[in-house]
């Protein structure tokens, strides 16, 4: 069973599959090198190829995390990102464990994807059965994931404790070309699925009952949503780390909903806030030699605070005039009543 699963995931086959993406990474690297020359930005000069990948991964995270986060936050599901990140950590641990025990040769990010998706489905199915997303079941999934992760790692102590820190806190310099390519695949899946099902996801998020009456298979869209969340969490984990990854799903979205009127505007603003956080955060992390995840979140929270202030100013000084409300006009319908 494991062999069957592992075959397409093993490094050799995987690299062949990701071939075109490596070409894209080269291209991207070339663009940034050129940018470094003309703008004199030493951070992204040619020998810092890891920073090229870090920025690419960061930019992708800045789009997909708030995009999915928008659909989660407005259903009071902000916690689910955190729960999935911790189960993804278990996935990483399983990957590392299998690699050292049976020499599986799979990147831990892929086992993390698999485990986080299974956990996502599990949370969703439990919530369907009990008819509520509850804090308790989410907390149980979260701690089970983390407990499983730490246990597997401590069993294998020695070789593993060293490398696990980058999964916990994220690390700019360890974004390998393979990890970046995997992220591009995750990014394409997330953007593609959200692009296709945006109407349905919006309806289900805003008004689940009405969406169900209008014939949407609500449970299926919920399952899609949590599985996409799992993909985003695993993708963002390499820079943000397990512990802080959920912040990218929540903080920019919360900031955007302070200042936006429409849903489309909210999505756009949250992506902009997230991009600023990620790019500024990564740049600062490079110069300070700090962990990127922490700085990205600090920038995001600062932006959030700014958004709260702007939002308050908008309500005080903005256009508060209530327009004249028209009467309900029964005669507007095609055949006049009278």
């Amino acid at each position: 069973m494991i062999d069957v699963l592992a075959m397409p995931l093993q490094t050799g086959g995987l690299d062949a599959l990701l071939g075109p993406l490596y070409w894209f990474l080269e291209l991207w690297s070339g663009v940034l090198t050129w940018l470094a020359k003309i703008a004199d930005i030493r951070m992204i000069q040619e020998q810092n190829a890891f920073m090229h990948r870090a920025f690419l991964v960061g930019i992708c995270i800045g789009v997909m995390a708030p995009l999915i986060g928008t659909f989660l936050v407005h259903r009071q599901l902000a916690l689910i990102g955190d729960a999935l990140a911790h189960t993804a950590f278990a996935g990483v641990a399983i990957g590392l464990f299998l690699n050292s025990v049976i020499n599986l040769g799979v990147t831990p990010y892929l086992t993390a994807v698999v485990v986080a998706m299974i956990a996502a489905l599990l949370i969703e199915v439990i919530s369907e059965a009990t008819d509520a997303y509850n804090d308790v079941s989410m907390a149980i999934v979260l701690s089970t994931g983390f407990a499983l992760g730490t246990t597997l790692i401590s069993i294998n102590a020695g070789g593993l404790t060293v490398s696990v820190e980058r999964y916990l806190f994220g690390n700019l310099s360890t974004v390998t070309p393979q990890a970046a390519a995997i992220l591009l695949v995750l990014f394409a899946i997330v953007i593609g699925v959200v692009g296709l099902t945006r109407n349905q996801l919006l309806y289900v998020t805003f008004d689940e009952t009405a969406a169900a009456v209008s014939g949407l298979p609500v449970n299926w869209y919920n399952r899609i949503m949590v599985m996409l969340t799992a993909l985003v969490v695993v993708g963002a984990m390499q820079i943000m780390g397990v512990i802080l990854v959920a912040a990218m799903l929540v903080v920019p979205v919360a900031g955007a909903s302070q200042v936006s009127r429409s849903f489309n505007e909210a999505v756009l603003v949250s992506v902009i806030l997230a991009e600023i956080s990620v790019i500024v955060g990564i740049a600062f992390a490079y110069h300070l030699g700090a962990t990127a995840g922490g700085i990205v979140v600090l920038v995001a929270v600062t932006l959030y605070t700014g958004a709260v202030v702007v939002g308050k100013l908008q309500t005080v000084y903005g256009d508060n005039s209530m327009p004249e409300m028209g009467s309900i006009n029964a005669n507007e319908t095609e055949s006049a009543a009278d």
Binding site: H74, R75, L196, T197, N199, Q200, L202, Y203, T205, F206, D207, E208, T209, A210, A212, V213, S214, G215, L216, P217, A256, S257, S260, R261, S262, F263, N264, E265, A266, P323, E324, M325, G326, S327, I328, N329, A330, N331, E332, T333, E334, S335, A336, A337
Partner: protein
């Protein structure tokens, strides 16, 4: 009688073969072992204006959920547009206005974006066409909310928000409008205008199914009343309902005195 049949043939989709939009046969249902509704049988025909009334906890909303196929009955059979209700998925035929508690309360979204959702069952994965947007704006106009099109829904009063939801149901251009206590929080003047609107829609051949707590609204507007309290206490024309003792049975004596128009 002749007007009745005329009305049915004009609503091209509904009338021809099946005039029964909803058929409930011997239905029992409970979320736990205790039944919420029992021995329910009723039919709703195309073009009717039916109100379901009953005290709090009488199973009105549960019956609505059963009829819309949102929950499956423990026993009995429910057909919606001649299909088993829980399998029915042609959402473009049903417009739904909930008690406003059901929608998200903090989400940034404009009135127009809410009404846009009424077109989603028609467009699936596609985009709204110019014609769809025209229908959206027409619905805005009908409920008198054009000036609020780009307002954030969360900044509106309860009544204004409810109007937006009604407009969403209108924009769905459904054959069947289902309204679950639609006028909760709506100011008294608008309530009157709102019921006039429902009557106008009904005159066009749209079937109206209204779940109401406010008895006077029901007795003034609906053609047929189903009085529910766990089981059906009354099902018939509104005039007969007013004269019957169903109210006392369902609501108890005290409420009957208050509610009796």
């Amino acid at each position: 009688m002749s007007t009745h049949t005329e009305r049915e043939t004009t609503t091209d989709q509904t009338a021809a073969s099946h005039s029964q939009l909803i058929e409930v046969t011997d239905v029992n249902f409970g979320y736990t072992a205790t039944p919420v509704v029992r021995d329910i049988s009723l039919q709703i025909e195309a073009g009717e204006y039916v109100a379901i009334v009953g005290p709090n906890g009488s199973g009105k909303s549960t019956l609505m959920k059963l009829m819309m196929g949102l929950v499956k009955p423990d026993e009995g059979r429910i057909r919606l547009f001649s299909e088993p209700a829980h399998k029915f998925d042609d959402g473009s035929r049903i417009g739904y206005v909930a008690q406003h508690a059901s929608a998200s309360k903090e989400m940034p979204i404009t009135v127009r974006e809410v009404i846009k959702m009424g077109r989603f069952p028609h467009i699936g994965f596609g985009r709204l066409s110019a014609a769809d947007w025209e229908i959206v704006d027409q619905a805005l106009e009908t409920v008198g909310m054009s000036a609020f099109a780009n307002r954030r829904v969360t900044n509106l009063s309860g009544g204004q928000r409810q109007r937006a939801f009604i407009a969403r149901a209108l924009a769905s251009e459904a054959d069947l409008l289902v309204l679950d206590e639609p006028t909760v929080g709506v100011d008294a003047e608008s309530v009157e205008a709102f019921y006039d609107l429902l009557e106008a829609l009904n005159d066009e051949g749209i079937t109206i199914l209204l779940i109401e707590h406010d008895l006077s609204a029901v007795t003034n507007h609906a053609e047929r009343v189903v009085c529910l309290n766990g089981q059906i206490h009354f099902d018939g024309p509104t005039e007969a309902f007013v004269e019957s003792d169903a109210l006392v049975q369902a609501f108890g004596t005290a409420a009957a005195g208050l509610g009796g128009v």
